[in-house]
């Protein structure tokens, strides 16, 4: 059975807030996307490009989580949803980071790999 809005929330007010949230999210995402593409196509040194792209990606992901998925640190949000995301992020960091650590170490010890890598590998 569809239960109509019982009028506990002022639809005008909260709708406006929610629309604002989507609007801000959209504009921020747009800017960050354009920024990332611009950085990639620019003449910056490679390392700076990568940092810019990564930063833009991270910021845009956070924007999506806040403005579209309505996650937040404030008390107004069910703690469990946020905890889940943070825990997932931690495990992802371990798994992806660990993979990168292991595979690049292995790659550095293989035939035909550039010797420049040696200086950055662990003893």
């Amino acid at each position: 059975m569809t239960k109509p809005n019982t009028g506990e929330i002022d639809p005008q007010e909260s709708a406006r807030q929610e629309l604002r949230s989507y609007g801000i999210g959209f504009v921020a995402s747009l800017l960050l996307t354009v920024g990332a593409f611009a950085a990639a196509l620019s003449d910056l040194p490679t390392v700076w490009k990568i940092i810019a792209i990564c930063a833009a990606a991270l910021l845009q992901i956070v924007t999506h989580m806040r403005n579209f998925l309505h996650l937040s640190f404030s008390v107004e949000q069910s703690r469990e949803d946020l905890l889940l995301v943070l825990f997932s992020a931690m495990l992802l960091a371990i798994m992806a980071g660990g993979t990168w650590y292991i595979m690049s170490d292995l790659g550095g010890r293989m035939h035909g790999n550039s010797h420049e890598d040696r200086s950055t590998s662990l003893p």
């Binding site: 371990i94 993979t99 292991i102 595979m103 170490d105 292995l106 662990l122 003893p123």
Partner: protein, 701 residues
Amino acid sequence: MSADISPIFGKLDWSVTPYTDLLREVNSSTIVGAGAASVLVLGAIAAVALLTWMRWWGPLYRNWLTSADAKKIGIMYIALALVMMARGIIEGFVIRTHQSTALGTLTQPESGLVSPDHFAQLFSTHGTIMIFFVAMPLLIGLINFVLPQQLGARDMAFPVLNQVSLGLTAAGAGLVMISLLVGKFGTGGWTMYPPYTGIDYSPGEGVDYWLWAILISGVGSTLTGMNFAVTIFKERAPGMHFMRMPLFCWTSLCVAIMLIYAMPALTVSSGMLALDRYAGSHFFTNEAGGNMMNYANIFWMFGHPEVYILILPAFGVFSEISSTFSGKRLYGYTSLVIASMSIAVISFTVWLHHFFTMGQSAGVNIAFGIATMVIGIPTGVKIYDWMATMWRGRIRVTAPIVYLTGFFLLFVIGGLSGIILANPSIDYQVHNSTFLVAHFHNVIIPGVLYGMLAGIHYWFPKAFGFRLDEDWGRRTALLFVGGFVFTFLPLYVLGLMGLPRRSPTFQNPDFMPWMYIASFGAVLMLCALASLAWTFWTSYRNRLALAVPGGDPWNGSSLEWSTPAPVPEWTFPHIPHVAARDDWGECKRSGDPWKAPQDYVDIEMPANTAHGLLIAATASALGFAMVWHIWWLAALSFLAIPALLAWRGMQVIEPRIVPAGEVEEADRRFRTMMADLAPATRADEETERNRGRPDLSEFAG
């Protein structure tokens, strides 16, 4: 052997059965192969015959296969696991026997009961079955049965999804079983490392059987993890704060989290291997940019958390039984919680220790070696906590306590051998020898197996209304202890003497005394299996004397013991309001725990549905079709799955209402019976006088 693919039958032809192998050449290996297939066929025929003769098809369908009740689903998981365990133990026995006959010479290097290829299939199916189709279903089944009851909930958060998970697991098991009769299984061990398992070196159907069994059941397990987690987060009874949950619920939460985050890794590694085999991709090939180490890396990102998934429920069971059968409150609740969560999280940081020897720099090995040693600490804390729980308790040496004692004595050895292996330098010496085989059996058997069997003993009366025979239970436990000791402790010695794992043959005659001891152990294991079966059978025959309708045969302190035995479908007439940890124990301390509720209400239960069964059928068809390249069937069954989902989505499904009157009638009968039942003291616990109503004056808790 033909390379032709028929459009209708795919790669299937008459040469796929072990019977054609037997016809081609009669030797011990082909006899064993044909024998195994025959056991499968005869077993299936016997099952069908029994169901038909007893007219059980209807009740089976109506009361079990279409039920979305977590308690029933749990029992079905355990039944599946026990059937697969029979195969797994017998395979272990054949492996031991083969190795006892496998002493070759340099001139005649190969000998033994079975051929090398057959031996390779044996150790592959043995490992795959034991981990994915015995240990996982056992623990998932136990959690399914116990968790909602301990939380004060009626069911899991997603009952029909639960059913689907069971169906997918069964489909995977079915694929492994059918490989006995149709075709061969893969020969790459339970880990199936490429490039050996790639299409170039394993062109047959064997590895595909493994892949589809794993992929299909893997989806089921991932969904189960999600189901458990949401149930614990959202479905706890009012007042059941996290720190009031029984330890078994905490370990279940850890298991859920680990399933959610570890199973995807297995999906990725298996998916990539499948793409290599089916689509010609180059993830793990020798050439064109493949990187076989990536498989080991991703697989063990699953594999390590997996073994903690296996052990944590056993730890949960030990927490429950150490306190109940000592008549004492669990010692160190907070430390046990922290230890469990630590184990869960740290288990994601150690996976490289499974491939220390595969070429990384020392620095990488050291990092993971240290993490591996660290994870031993919380486990040690737990063992001390259980010992402290039992210290100065009034211990009853029931079958679960025999298992717990075996665990205390034996698991620690396995844990220590793990710490030894955690040192990369030492690991270089013993990696992939039977020292490693001994280590992991040493932690899995005294850990997982004893824990699960103890749990089954402990909660069996709640499920079926009667206890299991204690004497036979203890005999079974002792046989499993003896079986482990004689089978696997010699393997430590053999590993140090240089015997590699998975050896179809060897040339050192000094191995033989240890081989014979290990074979004796394997015979004890078979006896233990028989004893387990006999325990169930004799208890069933004696069920009236063993009946405990009062529902609390062990004087327990958690919520599940407040209900009758067998527990009714709706578990609780009212969702309990929890006031403390060990709430049922508190009720017993503060007066009349079996007081009837004020009133009764209608109870909503999930409606029966065939959805899980249908998904299981389509998944089985999909898996079999993909293994044998029967593309039309694969496409059809693949499309059927979203079709089933869409069709179900269109239906408005009402829950089934159990009327308040029915609940009241059943409940009042229970309360009246309780009022008349004589309480049983601890001394009476194993006798007929135990009717499930304990003596409250003896409850210290």
